[in-house]
């Protein structure tokens, strides 16, 4: 079973497709114009000129290569990484794909912590691998409240039904 939701990568594809269409379109336009007997546009002459005169160790050439290489690396990264880091895949039956966003998951744990008697305030950090709940205990037996909190958090974590639930840690503090 998959453990991550995979993005469709529409933005990256849109950018790449736009550049591809614009670039090849411009070259095509120029080819046709030149072949039809019209002179080449100024930009075309300029580009050809620059390519013929700038050497491979020229700063501009190296900078251009750097930009192109970075863009290529970014496209490759977009192709192989799942993306959607803020959406957690849930366990579902065939035919249904579901994700719970990180804010929602954090809210659920916060809601649970707040429901524990003795906890007066709580703060949750929800990550892909682990979630940490910082709870401030206002009254009651500290150890008892901590155990209660841990038990309830573990139960709530199960009911979120995440495909790869993060490890939940409860940290308690008592204000002096």
């Amino acid at each position: 079973m998959r453990s991550r939701a995979w993005s469709q990568r529409r933005t990256a594809s849109g950018i790449a497709a736009l550049l591809l269409a614009a670039g090849s379109g411009a070259v095509l336009w120029e080819e046709i114009k030149v072949k039809a007997g019209d002179g080449a546009d100024r930009w075309r002459t300029k580009v050809t000129d620059e390519l013929a005169h700038r050497h491979l160790d020229d700063a501009w050439v190296l900078a251009g290569c750097g930009v192109v290489a970075l863009f290529g690396a970014w496209l490759l990264l977009m192709a192989v990484t799942p993306g959607l880091r803020h959406r957690h895949l849930m366990r579902t039956d065939e035919g249904l794909t579901a994700t719970l966003d990180r804010r929602g998951a954090r809210e659920a744990l916060r809601d649970t912590a707040r429901g524990v008697p003795g906890v007066v305030s709580s703060k949750v950090r929800f990550g892909r691998r682990r979630a940490t709940v910082h709870a401030v205990i206002g009254y009651g037996d500290t150890e008892g409240v901590r155990q209660d909190l841990e038990r309830k958090l573990a139960a709530r974590r199960e009911r979120l039904r995440l495909a790869r639930p993060p490890f939940v840690t409860a940290k308690v503090s008592v204000p002096k």
């Binding site: 497709a17 090849s24 290569c65 490759l76 990264l77 794909t97 719970l100 966003d101 809601d111 009911r159």
Partner: protein
Amino acid sequence: MSRATLNRVLLGLCGVLLLAGVGLLLGLRPHGQPVLTEAQRTRWRHESWWWAALLAAGWVLFVIGLMWLWTQLSPGRAGRVRLPLREHRRVQLHGRALADALRAEAARIPGVARARVRVLGTARTPRARFLLALDPGADPGAVLDRLAAGPIAHAHTTTGRPLPAEARLTLLAHPSTRVT
């Protein structure tokens, strides 16, 4: 091939080609040379196939670019959903009508505060996307069970074909959040 697969294959291809191009240019050629030498530029100029090949390559890349771009822009909403033949008559359902029905049923699930639904895909292969905002105390797992047993199962019985669905869930913040 789904849009996700198509995008990832083309993105990977573009990335590899760009990196390889830069690598070949900087790695294999002596550094004192111009980027494009006179000999390279005019090598095939007088061959009869050169112009045709250039033109063909330009067209192919241009068309691929436009089609790829088009794939991203289209919202992919199904205007109509085709139902199985009933007494040899073709029956169609507006995608929006199906979406409204799904939304109304999803909104009645306990724990669901707000629901938005879109029917995507084509008339023959529709799929649904649910955007659900849940009440703070709700159980996402339980909501999913009811979603599968309710709206999605009913759509299956009504349209006569399984309706693949995607659900994006969030939990709303408690209105009376204590200040931390």
